[in-house]
């Protein structure tokens, strides 16, 4: 009986779930997500005062997008301030193909990913020459150009009034309730997470990490910088595009107001708070960023019922607290939630014999 984890082959070392316990935990989690959660959600909604089912769906959609940005920023070291707009490209592509061209949903969603990947690669071209803040500014251009197109290409996008999207159906089955969407989103989120996790174990993934860590060394070792940077932009945009497509079909309306600079920054905040360069980071960061404003709404709602005369102040207070929490978080948790998760896990693993 070994007293610890000792890998004797490379295959073992590279495994995603290394122990039996971990597999059990993951199985339990999946079981809960698939079967338990839909039953718990309504009563949780009653406790928290917001629609937990809806929030779970939004979290799922944003996790897919955050994984995309994490691949680009966390693993390949390329910053992008255009992901909000890329999500918009996905949403509009899927919406337009579905509504105007009459494509079925299961075709329009991947098409949204592919089109967005193409657009993302075009805006990723400057990454060959630009790095860091300069690249951030260059990708910001995408935000303005795409945003302008979404607003003013009225014949295609419906302009500022937005584009209404019908509920999608699969082979005669219509996605009617939030719960139907939940399963679709859950499955896609799991697929996206597993793909990302696996991608990092391949030659491509290692090349991307090498580009992030020291691009000069990577180039000397024979990594084609341009190819991998562009590939990272492509895959990353594909993720965000799919998230956008889901968003369109879930919210049933696409408008340029969804996909502003603010969304790009929110995506960055998600991966930074979650932990850059951790697959778990995208998940934790998204949960945190999506739920925090909703949770902060609970006290404001109650206070405004107690003091109706000055209730307008509480709305402002919520925004202030939101900003404050994020600043405090970055100060006390600079490595992100994923790192904290590892610490907590390590603590409990050795409990009560930690030192």
């Amino acid at each position: 009986m070994p007293t610890g984890l000792f890998h004797s082959t490379y295959q073992e070392d590279e495994k995603i779930f290394r122990t039996v316990w971990l597999k059990c935990w993951m199985g339990g989690l999946l079981l809960f997500l698939f079967i338990g959660f839909p039953f718990v959600a309504p009563s949780l909604s009653g406790v928290f005062g917001f629609s937990v089912q809806h929030m779970a769906n939004m979290i799922g959609i944003y996790i897919i997008g955050a994984h995309g940005l994490n691949l680009l920023t966390g693993f390949t070291g390329q910053i992008s301030l255009g992901h909000g707009a890329f999500m918009g490209v996905g949403a509009y592509t899927s919406g337009i193909l579905f509504m105007k061209a009459g494509w079925p949903f299961w075709l329009s969603l991947p098409a949204a990913g592919l089109v967005t990947a193409g657009v993302g690669m075009i805006f990723g071209v400057p990454s060959l020459r630009l790095r860091g803040l300069y690249l951030a500014i260059a990708t910001m251009a995408a935000q303005f150009i795409i945003g302008y197109a979404m607003r003013n290409w009225t014949s295609l996008t419906g302009g500022s009034g937005g584009l209404n999207v019908d509920r999608p159906s699969f082979f005669g089955f219509t996605l009617d309730t939030d719960l139907h969407y939940y399963y679709l989103i859950l499955i896609l989120t799991i697929v996206a997470t597993l793909f990302l996790k696996n991608l990092l174990r391949t030659r491509t993934g290692r090349a991307m990490v090498a580009v992030r860590d020291r691009y000069l060394s990577a180039e000397i070792m024979g990594v084609n910088l341009f190819k991998y940077r562009l590939l990272a932009f492509g895959i990353s945009s594909f993720y965000v595009g799919v998230a956008g497509g889901l968003f369109a079909h879930y919210n049933l309306v696409v408008s340029d107001e969804h996909f502003t600079m603010w969304l790009s920054i929110q995506y960055l905040a998600m991966v930074i708070i979650g932990g850059l360069g951790h697959v778990l980071g995208g998940i934790f960061g998204t949960i945190f960023m999506v739920l925090l404003p909703e949770v902060l709404r609970i006290p404001t709602e109650i206070l405004s019922n107690i003091y109706p005369n000055i209730f307008a102040i509480f709305g402002t207070l919520r925004e202030l607290v939101f900003g404050l929490v994020i600043i405090l978080f970055l100060i006390f948790e600079p490595d992100g939630l994923a790192a904290r998760w590892h610490t907590i896990r390590a603590y409990w693993k050795l409990w009560p014999f930690s030192y």
Partner: protein, 396 residues
């Protein structure tokens, strides 16, 4: 490991605080719940705060004056910062958790985004967006608003400037659903009247400078220009026009014209800016104003309010009337409230707004407005105008 312990304590503290709050919230009896989606911190907060406050005050007023045939109402007011996704979140909360059947909403973008869903879920949605696209019950059966639509206002404005001898007009507006919604109607009316329309100028809701737009406008040199923004951007536009020596006069949509202009513009705006206002200014001597003034004297004597307060109050009063009628018919639900509102005929708000009429085929509440102008530190009414209720103007 000390840090982890503090962390755990922190979590426990949060949990305790959360449960306490929850406990407090659950004590109340079962009132009729109403969803509220307001902008208190976003780009339109300059006008949104007062509107939201009015709705909250009106809730108290309604409850103190008999409620819905004895039953109280509860307005769950939330800020969505003018962001559509936030509005969608709130909508789902109201629908699934609070189970409301009527919502007091705000902006054009979010109201349009939700219109298909409210129709499906049969939830009456009273918006502060007076977008004409929400008037056609064939398309948006559950959307209501309480005063003359933007498009009818812009048509009336075009007729007014034509009377004033205008030959050339320009439209300035923010690149937002709210700003853009009435522009096609305005242009069509200008064309009908034989006015020459110059290139549009985009002035953002949060603009602090409009010099470049106005320099461009100066080349065309219009006699009149439409302002489709909110009060802060309207004041910036007029101020810069004065600075650059334009001779253009401005006529603003309802959200760009209120008492705050007096402070923002000072003398610069005198005789320069006109506004379409279907709603009475705060404190004007009309019968409907008395309860408002009394209410505020009693509850918050120091508060300063504007016409936005009247707009919010009116929206709540119309809803109150609808709820009372629906309750009498024994149909206190979405379709019942919709049917009750559609029985309103020349409903009098005590002069706060023009008489309100809805029908199952036409949700245009009214067709008239008062044109105000800013003159010597005051907002003075110039003319009452109205346009015929023609079918060709329904829905755009």
């Amino acid at each position: 490991m000390k840090r982890i312990k503090t962390y755990h304590w922190f979590c426990i503290l949060l949990l305790v605080a959360g449960l306490t709050f929850w406990g407090c919230a659950k004590k109340e009896a079962e009132p009729i719940k109403i969803g509220g989606i307001f902008d208190i911190t976003g780009p339109t907060s300059a006008v949104g705060k007062d509107y939201a406050q009015a709705c909250k005050d009106a809730e108290q007023y309604i409850n103190e004056n008999g409620g819905i045939n004895g039953r109280k109402i509860q307005l769950i007011a939330n800020d969505y910062a003018y962001k559509i996704p936030e509005a969608v979140n709130l909508y789902k909360q109201y629908k699934d958790v609070d189970k409301v059947f009527v919502i007091q909403g705000w902006g054009t973008g979010d109201t349009n985004a939700l219109k298909a869903q409210v129709a499906k879920d049969k939830i009456v949605y009273i918006s502060a967006s007076y977008d004409s696209a929400l008037c056609d019950p064939a398309k948006t059966p559950y959307n209501f608003f309480v005063v003359t639509s933007y498009s009818d206002c812009i048509r009336l404005a075009m007729q007014f400037v034509k009377e004033q001898g205008a030959k050339k007009v320009v439209f300035t507006y923010p690149d937002h659903p709210y700003g853009k919604a009435p522009i096609p109607a305005g242009k069509a009316m200008a064309k009908e009247l034989g006015l020459e329309v110059g290139p549009d100028e985009i002035v953002g809701l949060r603009a602090i400078d409009a010099t470049s737009q106005l320099l461009h406008m100066k080349e065309f040199d219009p006699d009149w220009a439409w302002i489709g923004g909110t009060t802060p951007s309207a004041s910036v536009t007029v101020k810069d026009a004065v600075k650059l020596g334009l001779n253009t006069k401005f006529i603003s949509n309802i959200w760009g014209f209120d008492e705050n202009l007096l402070q923002l513009l000072g003398d610069a705006g005198s005789e320069r800016i006109y506004g379409m206002s279907p709603v009475a200014m705060y404190g004007v001597d009309v019968p409907g104003m008395k309860p408002i003034l009394e209410f505020n004297k009693k509850n918050s004597p120091d508060a300063v309010h504007t016409v936005r307060y009247i707009q919010g109050w009116t929206a709540m009063m119309v809803m109150w009337e609808g709820l009372k009628r629906a309750d009498k018919a024994g149909q206190l639900n979405g379709p019942g409230l919709k049917a009750a509102l559609e029985t309103l005929k020349d409903f009098d708000t005590g002069g706060l707004a023009p008489p309100i009429t809805y029908s199952p085929t036409d949700h245009r509440p009214a067709m008239s407005a008062t044109i105000y102008k800013m003159s010597q530190g005051k907002l003075v009414p110039v003319k009452k105008v109205s346009i015929a209720r023609e079918d060709r103007f329904l829905g755009w």
